[in-house]
């Protein structure tokens, strides 16, 4: 049976797994203690629950539980990881290398660091969204303290060559940070095999609750430290003060456990649905996949439908299907996605893109319905697109002098 509305925006957030909610509930009411209360059973219970969750989270990424610093989410993890390293390793250098397709939480933090006197190199990416390893190595200086490259991109799903990147950083004595928000829980991530020193991720992208995440901070080979960005009670090995969000953390732990348990099965099923969706939609004329199809998250597809505008396209079905677009007709700047532009896509193609993010609860029927709805809307809007008409008449749109506004 077809269940509406269809949610295909799982890169933005995922619904919480009911099994996660179940484990969380007692920690709001019955076991409400402060995990830092060392002198009574309420505190002990909370601490025990947090410890257990810490193990669940650590296990998913192949880390030691002591290396998990709970945060409010990936934005905080990005801030703490980048600013924390910048401050802690100031005596070693002030240079950070990142990429133009990073999440704003990384890019804007880097801009902040530049204002503080740091130096940041922004690597460009190729048509597939991948950085060039030689360029990375060439960008390293004696003052480079950190390489910060995301595990997988949120808009196009492109997975960077993490092992190779971390090896280059290590070879030159720089730390390696990765924002793995989109990757953890979806594909195997192992901090040791991948050579990761610091890693930010979040519960709500993996069927856990919003408002909780973690920063992985390596404790051995090398022992990494970050300067706390909030002053207070010295929680989380003094790297992140603030009373722990016990129910959130318990849910995060459970979400990690479930991802580990279900990853293979989920990936197999979801990637099959993604491939079906993509194959069918690419049957439309002038439809193109953005980003790498080879090095890509199994649940993501970003497609440009030339000559129709993304927001207009979404309006055709957004009562029943939730996706997102690289077009930014709503923003005052009218700037389309900087990630798609970084791939070298023209603004016109960036404006014509849709991102489909499938998830654990996406069904076969929902994908069939989406294929039908999206295809029909593309066809309908092309019938009223002057660009489509010109294209069909063989007019080269690049040769027209558009009244730029």
């Amino acid at each position: 049976m077809l269940k509406l509305p269809v949610y295909l925006d799982n890169n933005a957030t995922t619904p919480m797994d009911p099994r996660v909610l179940e484990t969380m509930i007692p920690y709001f009411t019955e076991h409400f203690g402060n995990a830092a209360s060392r002198n009574h059973p309420f505190g002990w219970e909370a601490e025990e629950a947090v410890d257990y969750a810490r193990e669940q989270v650590a296990k998913l990424i192949g880390a030691d539980p002591k290396e998990i610093i709970f945060t409010s989410g990936a934005t905080e993890g990005d801030n703490l990881g980048l600013k924390g390293v910048y401050e802690m390793y100031a005596s070693k250098g002030n240079h950070i290398i990142t990429a133009t397709t990073e999440h704003k939480a990384v890019l804007d933090t880097c801009k902040h660091i530049e204002k503080l006197g740091g130096e940041v190199t922004y690597l460009e990416v190729n048509r597939e969204g991948l950085i060039d390893l030689q360029e990375l190595e060439a960008a390293i200086k004696p003052t480079t303290i950190l390489v910060a490259i995301m595990y997988a991109n949120n808009e196009i799903g492109t997975i960077q060559p993490i092992k190779e990147i971390s090896a280059i950083a290590k070879k030159h004595g720089a730390l390696f940070f990765t924002d793995a928000t989109q990757a953890v829980g979806k594909i195997p991530v192992n901090v040791n095999k991948d050579g990761i020193d610091l890693m930010a991720f979040s519960a709500h992208k993996m069927y856990g609750p919003k408002g909780v995440g973690a920063l992985y901070v390596r404790r051995k080979n090398p022992r990494v430290k970050v300067t706390a960005q909030m002053d207070g009670g010295g929680h989380e090995r003094a790297m992140r003060s603030g009373t722990l969000n016990v129910p959130g953390i318990v849910g995060f732990g459970k979400a990690c456990e479930l991802c580990m348990l279900d990853m293979e099965k989920d990936t197999q099923r979801i990637s099959k649905l993604r491939d079906k969706l993509e194959t069918e939609l690419l049957k439309l004329e002038e439809a193109y996949v953005n980003g790498s199809r080879e090095h890509r998250l199994p649940h993501v597809s970003n497609i440009s439908f030339k000559y129709v505008e993304g927001e207009g396209l979404m309006m055709g079905f957004n009562k029943n299907i939730a996706v997102s677009s690289g077009s930014a007709c709503t923003s005052a700047s009218l700037e389309p996605s900087y990630v798609l532009k970084a791939l070298g896509l023209g603004d016109d193609l960036a404006h014509s893109s849709l991102r489909f993010g499938l998830g654990r609860f996406t069904t076969d029927e929902q994908i069939d319905y989406t294929i039908e709805q999206v295809s029909n809307t593309v066809l309908r809007l092309r019938e009223m697109s002057p660009l489509w008409e010109m294209y069909k008449e063989g007019i080269d749109l690049n040769k027209i002098e558009w009244a730029a506004h």
Binding site: M315, D347, S385, P386, L387, H405
Partner: protein, 139 residues
């Protein structure tokens, strides 16, 4: 951001989508916007040369729902007006009618530009002088 009912209605049932023969002397064509900006409107008017009245208007738009609705509404308003009357259509009338939020005002500006551009095309074709309009402010 939710769309107004009128925008949704124009988007779902756009009025006057189509193409007029631009080689005809009594047809004026306006093509405004740019693909890089995410919206392109083509608006055409067909004028009764005897009376100067716009007898038909057609549009095609590449853009968001508000851009489609603005151009659809513009074609409705153009039909039956004289060319001179058509010049009085103001983008803020479109904003009001469609209840466009501030971020979508540029769609109405584009529609107004398209009208003016189509009228100028018609004027030039018929040996009249091109009207110089002030630069649009909102873009």
């Amino acid at each position: 951001m939710a769309y107004s009912e009128k925008v949704i209605d124009h988007y779902q049932n756009p009025k006057n989508v189509g193409t007029l023969d631009k080689s005809q002397k009594n047809v004026g064509t306006g093509l405004v916007g740019a693909p890089e900006c995410g919206d392109v409107m083509r608006l055409q008017i067909q004028v009764d040369e005897e009376t100067g009245v716009i007898t038909d208007a057609k549009f095609k738009t590449f853009g968001c729902g508000s851009a489609i609705a603005s151009s659809s509404l513009a074609t409705e308003w153009l039909k039956g007006k004289s060319v001179d009357e058509a010049l009085t259509i103001d983008n803020m009338d479109i904003v009001e009618e469609l209840n466009l939020p501030p971020v979508k005002i540029h769609c109405s500006v584009l529609a107004e530009d398209a009208i003016k551009s189509a009228i100028n095309d018609y004027r030039i074709k018929n040996g009249m002088e091109k009207i110089r309009f002030e630069e649009s402010v909102v873009h």
